[in-house]
Symmetry: D3
Subunit: 319 residues, 6 copies
Amino acid sequence: MTDIVTFGETMLRLSSPPGERLERARELDVRVGGAESNVAVAAARLGRDAAWISKVPDSPLGRRVVDELRGHGVETAVAWDDAPAARLGTYYHERGGDPRGTDVLYDRAESSITTAVPDELPVSVLDGAALFFTSGITPALSPTLAETTSALLGAAARAGVKTAFDLNYRSKLWSAGEAGDAYESLFPHVDVLVAAERDVDTCLGREGDPIDVANGLRREFGFETVVLTRGENGSVAVADGEVFEQQVYAADTFDAIGTGDAFVGGYLAKRVSGGDVGEALAYGAATASLKRTIGGDVAVVTPEEVESVVAENGGGISR
Amino acid sequence: MTDIVTFGETMLRLSSPPGERLERARELDVRVGGAESNVAVAAARLGRDAAWISKVPDSPLGRRVVDELRGHGVETAVAWDDAPAARLGTYYHERGGDPRGTDVLYDRAESSITTAVPDELPVSVLDGAALFFTSGITPALSPTLAETTSALLGAAARAGVKTAFDLNYRSKLWSAGEAGDAYESLFPHVDVLVAAERDVDTCLGREGDPIDVANGLRREFGFETVVLTRGENGSVAVADGEVFEQQVYAADTFDAIGTGDAFVGGYLAKRVSGGDVGEALAYGAATASLKRTIGGDVAVVTPEEVESVVAENGGGISR
Amino acid sequence: MTDIVTFGETMLRLSSPPGERLERARELDVRVGGAESNVAVAAARLGRDAAWISKVPDSPLGRRVVDELRGHGVETAVAWDDAPAARLGTYYHERGGDPRGTDVLYDRAESSITTAVPDELPVSVLDGAALFFTSGITPALSPTLAETTSALLGAAARAGVKTAFDLNYRSKLWSAGEAGDAYESLFPHVDVLVAAERDVDTCLGREGDPIDVANGLRREFGFETVVLTRGENGSVAVADGEVFEQQVYAADTFDAIGTGDAFVGGYLAKRVSGGDVGEALAYGAATASLKRTIGGDVAVVTPEEVESVVAENGGGISR
Amino acid sequence: MTDIVTFGETMLRLSSPPGERLERARELDVRVGGAESNVAVAAARLGRDAAWISKVPDSPLGRRVVDELRGHGVETAVAWDDAPAARLGTYYHERGGDPRGTDVLYDRAESSITTAVPDELPVSVLDGAALFFTSGITPALSPTLAETTSALLGAAARAGVKTAFDLNYRSKLWSAGEAGDAYESLFPHVDVLVAAERDVDTCLGREGDPIDVANGLRREFGFETVVLTRGENGSVAVADGEVFEQQVYAADTFDAIGTGDAFVGGYLAKRVSGGDVGEALAYGAATASLKRTIGGDVAVVTPEEVESVVAENGGGISR
Amino acid sequence: MTDIVTFGETMLRLSSPPGERLERARELDVRVGGAESNVAVAAARLGRDAAWISKVPDSPLGRRVVDELRGHGVETAVAWDDAPAARLGTYYHERGGDPRGTDVLYDRAESSITTAVPDELPVSVLDGAALFFTSGITPALSPTLAETTSALLGAAARAGVKTAFDLNYRSKLWSAGEAGDAYESLFPHVDVLVAAERDVDTCLGREGDPIDVANGLRREFGFETVVLTRGENGSVAVADGEVFEQQVYAADTFDAIGTGDAFVGGYLAKRVSGGDVGEALAYGAATASLKRTIGGDVAVVTPEEVESVVAENGGGISR
Amino acid sequence: MTDIVTFGETMLRLSSPPGERLERARELDVRVGGAESNVAVAAARLGRDAAWISKVPDSPLGRRVVDELRGHGVETAVAWDDAPAARLGTYYHERGGDPRGTDVLYDRAESSITTAVPDELPVSVLDGAALFFTSGITPALSPTLAETTSALLGAAARAGVKTAFDLNYRSKLWSAGEAGDAYESLFPHVDVLVAAERDVDTCLGREGDPIDVANGLRREFGFETVVLTRGENGSVAVADGEVFEQQVYAADTFDAIGTGDAFVGGYLAKRVSGGDVGEALAYGAATASLKRTIGGDVAVVTPEEVESVVAENGGGISR
């Protein structure tokens, strides 16, 4: 029986070496990453049974994604796409530094997952699972996938599997208005909302004191828990009338990509194994800070490392 | 004034290291390659003024292609595609060894060039050119591009620019029947036909003694010259009632990709600078043999090196 | 339910780059390998449910082994050794070329697995398995492990799990006499014997016509099947009065290490999925030939690739 | 018609990896760089037609320089030196960190360019150009080259091509006194002087308030414009009675080499395309700040990136 | 005649690349390091005749250690261990960054040196030497080596060779109590004690004002000189009633490992060549700060570089 | 007391990766090599006390040469050149493959050693040596060095040190006539002549049966021994009326550079330790064959490896 099941796209990531521009690089570092599999990897590495549902090409690149996730201990429940033109989403990545930021160049249109329908996915991995997670990237990838996302969230909810959803707004995929509408249509199936404060403002038009915003969302949409991530300002969560706050743990950043997913993975791993919301926020923040020191999208960490960060750094306060 | 102008797609090539499978590689070597730009590079490096017409995304990857070709001395006459989803064709490449061959995995659908129409291309580079070259890959990429290919070949022919065409059949792009029909519709605009013996058989249904086949094609379609490449068996050409034969120069193969394009580039470079067909075959064969010793799609050679291979190895006989 | 369960040590492999001696190398390539996990990887990649039982340090290096095997789809059933001095067996590897051979330098003494006893191993993975495999390396590693090997083979045989054993004589671990005695003490638990012709001669003192040798072994020890591998001379098998012969498929060798394990993995995968002994020999030989083209100890192949080698190359004859 | 033509030496740069000393490095990163070609590359990448005049060996290393500059879009107008002993200037580069600085080891004596005379250089590229640029490194390389530099500056001035000159004092090439004399002999041909405040002090013996210094130089030598670069203190320019000041844009420095040349390239590119001196200073400062984040001597940037830095950072004030 | 002779274990160091975890790295950087050879290398590079006594396997790895030390100019006086299972101590190294520290994973048990007895070591290199150095790591490696360490220190003292000893407490090798007892048993043979303030507290139970601590040690055990290193707080030394203090020179740290040994090597090199204690502290601190900027365990520096750091930074005060 | 002392230039070697042309390589592999130090390294690695006399710049590159030779166990007796423009000879190296050969591009003019005079060289290392070796490259480097070579050979001969000389003709350094004259002027000081059959023909105008040629040289110039190397045809030697012949040992060639020097190093090492001429030829041939399998100029081998090649391959016949 699985603790955490996630659903979404995982891409090939091709990065130029430090100080080298994509335009000129002669070698690219290869990794795989995607919000939902990043969450699954973090959870699996922190001791949870984690699975990931997706659709990938039946090609060396598709197998690479599966190999890498399995290597981290994630169960891969995939539909293999054997269409001749089946393609894996790809993104090119260039690390910057002021005044040049990190650059991400997507090449993900028409990837295999954009055609995924519930019937072809091995969704039986959801049976008896404790929690189902997906993010707002998934419904943005295609109308088909928007429907499939809704169907999976609904089925999970009906089967008594708790559901968690991270807004993860991507302006290159859709407009804020489209995203906001889509999110709201999914919220009836969602128990736990995770959202960047900025996305809540941009897509749902809510700003102000973060605790007020979180409480407002919770009341309006009936979430069990709302977690707001606030960048350098840490995170807050509201649940059952309680409020939790967590600071960021300082980190020397080697690679910032995947920090948010590491936070979610740590948070959910702790919640699923019985931690309270405050403990889970600390666990998520510690996982995120460790992720920053590591190349690639995923948090290659151990539970002992996460716990050591939490222990040495004190942590959040619950009021 | 340009000697040789080519038109076609150039892709990003991502190769796994020796002995490493694409499924597992952690680093990929980055090159660029495409049949028509490979021909242009060979011609430019052998001292001709060479230009390449194409359409590429206005992105680091599109600029990379342009940088690399310019670096070899090719004039790049490109339409920059600034559509947000503009993409550069890509191919993944894995070198094998018996009993595992070299593997090529295309990810080129919907690339920028597939939408190229004559009006947006900087075709003025053709004015006064000596020769225009494209291959059978170009019309295979999209119906739009098939029309554009025909239009450019026609315009070149009408403007008195000699035209050369290499069948270059790709079974992953279209069927032999589709290809054969398309080729034949273009032949009226073509002066010099280059073709692999195998493609002539597969797509045009002609087999038998290569000189007979070449003569048959020449008579039927009115080509000025027909060059048949025969793999390890060398090449033959027929022109003006003369027959030329050329053997292959032995080579230690480091990377076989682009060998045929190097042959065409060497052949055309020599013809354009006044060599006869026999000299051009030798030049092409020498360029091709050098290419095999070099990583990447293009023949990083000098005229001196090519001439040295021709001189030391004797060469073909003209009857 | 698992098809194939293997038991043995997997080591870290550190290789110097081509042309570079271990004494001078500034970078080492890192892989993992061990006879029994190599067999499990081949079987898993060829579509079988495969598991591997072992004991590894609870350290980054132990996790690395587990990650890599899981990545190939092998279920890892390991006892984690959290002793402070727990160590992973290591070997250094230098590719040569005539007149200098490939050099292997073991640093494997006192590794975690040498202390493994049945009670601590997650042997329940054997329940209902189709086949259990280990090799003659395992009992050579320590007296404790010799006992554990015997216990596992015996338990498997008693539970109706078929057993296979590859002599795999290592002269650096024990003498031919010690090895021969140990092998013979295990044979009563073994159904399928795989052996290099050379090891049979060295350790069991049998030489001569390979079919006679195989039949002799089969008669004396009551094996169901005996497979003899004969290097460049291919392989023979005897079973139920039938004799099978298989030639080697020609290969460009990039890395010869693991060739024998790939053969065994391919052979067992085919047998477990219903192939007859002759088909299994061909499958094993094809897997082995592909392995030679790939860096590392394991056969990173697909069933389609193996089948293509078998199909194109004809194969062995059954008399 | 070319916007900006530069003249000078370009060297091969060989750098040890991060944290590795030249004395011990086993691999060196290869780049090319030289003050004048760095300026040309920046200008070309920012949209100007830029050319570079030089003399290089007819060797793989000479071709490498030409390839790389052409790749960035610079027209290369070179005399090929086919003397058997022709050599390309080289420099070894080691990145440091406090208390060890960046180390540069020149091996440039007797390079091909030191023998360059006007007659052999393809100076026709200057015809109709908007601006000619060289730096104080060029006349320092040999007496012959000092004469050639003077001849080219003079010819440009006479042909109505505006001239710009950067002092670029190199104490390893000549003494401050020799340099100062040489500079002053060239000033009559120079319209735009760019100089580091430090070099003005060292070689021309002028220090004090930078605006006073700039105005003093302008008055005495009749420059149209004087630009003083002041390291962390930004830059100032005086022209036509106007004074311009520009701050430095903060940057995470990956590789500081070429920062000054990027500034000059950005400045001149903006001026040639019609920007006023203040806009050009901002453009130069932004190009320089981006350069710092990139490995190698040249500013691999786009106009959009430069403009984005200028837009977000405000910029200089004109009084 | 040798200036400085050291005795101890040198290990192979295998490091994962920046940002990469040991668990996942595909390549490891290879270096060699050990406290006593690090000291010898620093001294040799700073112009002293330095030798190192040890026992290493007669294998490529043992030769590698010897090659590398000889390369830095150290005379290697080693016993070659030709036992089949002879092994070189190894350590795996992973650079971190907050909140993840640098990780060191030892695999050094049962290495060749643990069996070294005086008779097999080429101790004649000590004849006429000025100074003998070892550290508290050496006696911790095995009871045999503890005896050998004592014997060598005693012999040196008796032969009039000055002796220096650095506590270098390693909690992974023994307890603080065991270490403290062992240290005290060696102190009668020691003239110069170097110790980290933290180790003095942990193992010898002395804390408080560092000068008081140093003086206390000196009085109780009769050392000629006591040097206490205090991390970021610099160092102090007491000798002949004089007190010396030295600050740390600021450094951009690329690799912190070996900093302490570089300090000792610089200190001893200066002392042996006639510098007073204060000059030696400055020399040691400068060597240490340079070491931090360089990858690997050893200080790849020149005397000029060390002197330049000392000169520019002022330095310690002697009261 | 030293067994073998050599004198000559050692250069930095910069090689492009396999399949990559120097014109395009982004990384270069760094090695050091020179005929005489290659001989010294081979001799030192084969157990002889070997020293190398030279003059190198006091720079990181000069130190690199010294480090690397010391690392192989060679005593480095160098004059450090602290002239500001002191330079180390360099060569660029590109591995080819038919029909493109290995390319070597020298950049060695005006290197430090070209100014070496006997007085500044630490020639005391010759005192009591058994053998002095230099090659025909050394006098070719400059007139000064030709005189110094003669002086050292003469001094060695007068001091009773045996002398060996390898013609090593380099057509890029001087003409065959100049070389021949220079060689003959040195022959009076030479005891053992080693020469490629081809060089004897080119420079000394002697061809024909190799034994006749060798005997002719021996008679005319009074050499003790003449060794002729004949490429794939092996080698012959004449000494004291005896004739020795040796075949080549087959080798998979990874890097052919330095093969001849490895032969000489092996030959001299064996002679100096008492082997007869026939044994020494076999030893030289075996060392040369091993060298071919290893990257770089020097034979990174052990005596055991050389002896194993000799033992397994039989060897030459003495008539």
